[in-house]
């Protein structure tokens, strides 16, 4: 675990890392919507949603896994040695810690939003 933690701290931080968690949300959301819409368009109004539910369960597990990983990296990087928040100095460390903190927050938001998206799969049984 501590080896992973140190490796995460050494990773390069970019602006792309910031948008990774919400991008995963977007991909998961689109997958759920498109898969269900395609399935229901082709299988009919009363078709049971068994396949859709299984697909959404898999996609949700995968998406949450990636978001958790991104969140872990961000958490580790937000704790590299230096001052506590608000990270408002013009230094390399503060810029890294700021980006990591913002990424961690976005990962948390994305996690919740992905769970929200998956809930309908628990509630609905057919395409009506």
């Amino acid at each position: 675990m501590s080896a992973l933690y140190e490796r995460a701290q050494r990773m390069r931080s970019t602006l792309w890392a910031l948008i990774l968690p919400p991008t995963i949300w977007a991909a998961h959301f689109l997958f759920c919507y498109v898969f269900a819409a395609l399935y229901c368009a082709k299988a009919g109004t009363f078709a049971p949603l068994g396949v859709v539910r299984a697909a959404i369960a898999l996609a949700t597990a995968a998406a949450l896994g990636v978001v958790l990983a991104a969140g872990f990296v961000a958490w580790a990087k937000s704790r590299i040695p230096g001052d506590p928040p608000p990270h408002d100095e013009s230094t390399d460390e503060d810029r890294v810690r700021f980006l990591a903190t913002a990424t961690l927050l976005l990962a948390a938001l994305s996690f919740v939003a992905i769970v929200f998206t998956a809930i309908p799969a628990l509630m609905f049984e057919d395409c009506r």
Partner: protein, 845 residues
């Protein structure tokens, strides 16, 4: 050589000479005609803002006529047909000609100041966007005076609007006029993204950026993904209206729901595109009047970025009553509830900052606080309508009208008034009246609530939106009368603001930075158009508060680029994450080309509306000529020397190409928007596949094609054109200029042939686009690629000509790199297009 040693900033004569040179370089053009050739953000930003406010007043007057008509039951003040035009134009003007342009306007005005930059990286592009906006808005807004305004509602649902016998020319005016405005919005987005990422002052790393810049960045990126689907929808819509291609005609395989999808993929993010920049103003105002740093800076970044993303997962909540499967509705309901989280976070951050500070209850803060109160009410009704079963009841009633006005007036209009009162001294050097401002605020606040709160009840009582009258005695009389009275009180409050603005020229000048704010924009002096005297070194989020002697050091030119030795307009280009200085960029000065480009390009759209094809084509050729002239004379200019001293021992290049240069970023961003529009068309193709049991339709004359041969030939030629362009870039960079020119010639020939081969597929198999939607969508994809081939050929030949003219060399090779980047995107589009139209029919069968 003056530039080689640091000038003596202690010497007042040196400083005065620097100031004289800066003043001359940044002087606005004078004279009745020439003044309109100005491109500096301080001029264009002001024009842009005033024009957008004029549009607000125009659309507000339309609303007053609507409320006058609805004040009493059975009123005959205006006819049903005029009423349709009134509400359609009110919504369209408010959304497209006020709300989005005011964001662009205010950002063009403020952003360079916030970043301590002298201007944005492409000032002429800003001017082009502004003139496009003027031409388009005069065209669209003026139509009502000829009884020709659009009348199908601001979201223009087909099939009502695609049927020329039911809706007159108004629908064309809407589509073509607003498409042109959308081009201006994308131009502004490019300008603002590159401005935020590449034009920050040294030291202003991402963690020190003013929050306004974060919001601008998010909103501009949202524009890139939100507007192109609407542009794609507009293309399909106009092809149906002008050429009878049945994209939304269910009797020939089309589907009106596709328009709703494309419209709302734009339309919902649009709400946040309007809302976030206004919150951004609030994020600047709150710290000033709380007298402390904003709390929770990363939380605001979370809110801006999170809202930006989630807002793209909400569009179907406008379509809850269209009969989509319940599980689809539920996904969008879930996302609509999730977006409450980041929206709430930023409101709590503002409250916490005010709580932790020593609050000064100024007029701007009063407007801001009132705005938040109204917005929260709109947000709460939003949570209600995001729940599908509630929406089934409230859909298309006055409840929705009330909800959207609470959101938009609370979320966008009132914060803009806060910004107006806050930033007026920065732009004009004079404060507005606190007495009139407070009076106006209370009139607007009370008038607004009296006008719009009863609409919730009217809606729940069953009053549908967009009815031009209602019968007496069904419980709507008093509610409507109240709404109308409130609307006029609201309008009177806005009139008070106007009086306040009119009185401003007669008032005495106020002190610089009258609010004692901490951010860079308050370095500005309204009488100087150079933006900043010297580009500052930033070490804090609030440098005016935290860096001792900051203003004096700036004013005495002790930071970077305090001079304009070569008589050129210059700005600092820096790195994305850490704002390390990379280049001294040179930008264009006053010129009429943006104005001419906007007029000629506007001509294409306007003349097409009236089916004047030949005149439209002539206008298009003129537009192309003007744009090429603009590029040839004003971009990628080879500098007279390689480097320049920027001050403090920093020596920077005067030219850059590839990913460090602003031009490369602009191309990348443009092509991202282009790729989004392309993806929307491909989405259309597959959308038709989902709605039909058999798609492509069964073999029949006119419905079969385009085969495999021609699409694959086209793909091969496109790939050849791409490879040759990339090869030319590499050969040029290795000083093999002859080989580069030969490869460019090959590239142009291959790309040209590729475009033709793409058209040959549907042509040779006789696909008939008016017969069914399948041939129509295949044709559209092929034409899309042919148009991109044509633009690619022009670019390749342009680079060839630049090389021949000595304006492109192995070192100064920006054009070659940018065109190669364009061709990357074209090659990817070609691969998708031709693979889909060639192989999907067989796959689906």
């Amino acid at each position: 050589m003056r530039a080689e040693r640091s000038p003596d900033q202690d010497d007042p004569h040196v400083r005065a000479a620097q100031e004289a040179r800066l003043r001359e370089v940044w002087a606005p053009p004078r004279g009745f005609f020439l003044r309109w050739t100005d491109v500096n953000n301080t001029a264009v930003g002001v024009w842009y803002t005033l024009t957008a406010i004029a549009m607000l007043l125009f659309a507000g007057c339309l609303a007053l006529v609507i409320r006058a008509q609805l004040a009493f039951p059975g009123s005959e003040l205006v006819s049903a047909s005029t009423f349709n035009q009134l509400f359609t134009l009110h919504g369209s003007v408010m959304m497209f000609l006020f709300a989005v342009p005011i964001f662009e306007a205010v950002s063009i005005l403020l952003l360079p100041q916030l970043l301590g930059a002298r201007d944005l990286p492409f000032p002429r592009l800003s001017a082009f966007g502004y003139w496009s906006f003027v031409v388009g808005s005069v065209f669209v807004a003026g139509s009502i005076f000829f009884d020709a305004a659009p009348d199908g509602g601001w979201f223009m649902y087909p099939p009502l609007t695609t049927e020329p016998t039911r809706t007159g020319i108004g629908a064309d005016i809407w589509m073509l006029g607003l498409s042109f405005i959308e081009v201006a919005a994308i131009a502004a987005a490019i300008e603002l993204i590159v401005g935020v990422l590449k034009c920050r002052p040294p030291g202003m790393r991402l963690n020190l950026m003013p929050l306004y810049a974060w919001y601008v960045l998010v909103v501009a990126v949202m524009i890139l993904f939100a507007f192109p689907p609407l542009i794609a929808g507009d293309v399909l819509f106009e092809l149906e209206r002008l050429l009878d291609w049945p994209f939304f005609d269910a009797s020939r395989g089309g589907d009106p729901l596709l328009w709703q999808h494309l419209f709302w993929i734009f339309g919902h993010p649009e709400v946040y595109i309007i809302f976030l920049p206004s919150v951004a103003l609030f994020a600047m105002i709150v710290p000033t009047f709380a007298r402390r740093h904003l709390l929770g800076y990363p939380w605001i970044v979370l809110a801006a970025v999170g809202t930006g993303f989630l807002s793209f997962g909400l569009w179907v909540h406008h379509m809850f009553t269209t009969g989509l499967p319940s599980i689809s509705l539920a996904f969008f309901s879930a996302a609509s509830e999730a977006v409450v989280i980041p929206t709430g976070v930023q409101i709590f951050v503002f409250i916490a900052t005010l709580w932790a500070g020593r609050v000064i209850w100024s007029t701007p803060l009063l407007f801001g606080a009132g705005a938040l109160a109204i917005f929260v009410v709109g947000g709460l009704t939003g949570v209600m309508v995001a729940i599908a079963p509630f929406d089934w009841q409230a859909h298309d009633t006055y409840f929705i009208v009330a909800h959207l006005h609470y959101v938009l007036i609370g979320g966008a209009v009132l914060p803009l008034f806060a910004g107006l009162y806050y930033y007026w001294p920065m732009v004009t050097g004079k404060k507005l009246s606190d007495r009139l401002g407070r009076l106006a605020f209370w009139m607007i606040f009370v008038g607004f609530n009296v006008a719009f709160f009863p609409m919730h009840i009217a809606g729940l009582a069953g009053m549908p939106r967009r009815v031009f009258t209602y019968p007496e005695g069904i419980g709507l009389d008093l509610l409507n009368l109240l709404s109308s009275v409130g609307a006029f009180v609201l309008a009177a409050g806005i009139a008070v603001v106007l009086v306040d603005l009119m009185l401003s020229p007669r008032r005495a000048r106020c002190a610089r930075n009258p609010w004692n704010a901490g951010t860079l924009e308050w370095l500005a002096r309204p009488e100087e158009s150079w933006g900043v005297r010297s580009v500052p070194l930033v070490e804090s989020r609030y440098p005016l508060w935290d860096q001792p002697g900051f203003v004096a050091r700036h004013d005495e030119g002790r930071f970077f680029l305090p001079d304009a030795e070569e008589g050129k307009r210059e700005l600092m280009i820096s790195s994305v994450l850490d704002a390390k200085p990379l280049q001294v960029g040179r930008i264009g000065g006053p010129t009429a080309t943006p104005l001419l480009a906007a007029l000629t390009l506007g001509g294409v759209f306007i003349l097409t509306t009236f089916h004047l094809w030949l005149a439209a084509a002539v206008s298009g050729v003129l537009a192309l000529g003007v744009i090429l002239w603009w590029l040839w004379t004003g971009t990628s200019i080879v500098p007279e020397k390689e480097t320049k001293h920027a001050g403090h021992g920093v020596v920077l290049p005067l030219y850059s190409s590839g990913p460090v240069s602003p031009g490369w970023w602009a191309m990348f961003i443009t092509m991202t928007a282009d790729a989004t529009a392309f993806a929307s068309l491909v989405f259309g193709y597959f959308f038709y596949f989902t709605v039909h049991a058999e798609f492509p339709p069964a073999a029949a004359p006119g419905l079969t094609g385009p085969g495999v041969f021609w699409p694959m030939a086209a793909l091969g030629l496109f790939v050849l054109g791409w490879a040759a362009t990339v090869g030319a870039r590499e050969a040029n960079a290795r000083a093999r200029v002859g080989a580069a020119r030969a490869l460019l010639t090959l590239a142009a020939a291959a790309t040209f042939a590729g475009g033709l081969a793409g058209l040959a597929g549907p042509w040779s198999s006789g696909l008939a686009p008016t017969a069914h939607v399948y041939p129509a969508i295949v044709w559209v994809l092929a034409i899309w690629m042919a148009a991109h081939a044509a633009i690619g050929v022009i670019m390749q030949l342009y680079v060839l000509a630049r090389s021949a003219a000595g304006r492109l060399t192995p070192v100064y090779d920006g054009d070659a790199r940018n065109v190669a980047l364009y061709m990357h995107f074209v090659a990817i589009s070609a691969a998708v297009t031709f693979a889909v139209i060639a192989f999907f029919p067989e796959l689906a069968a």
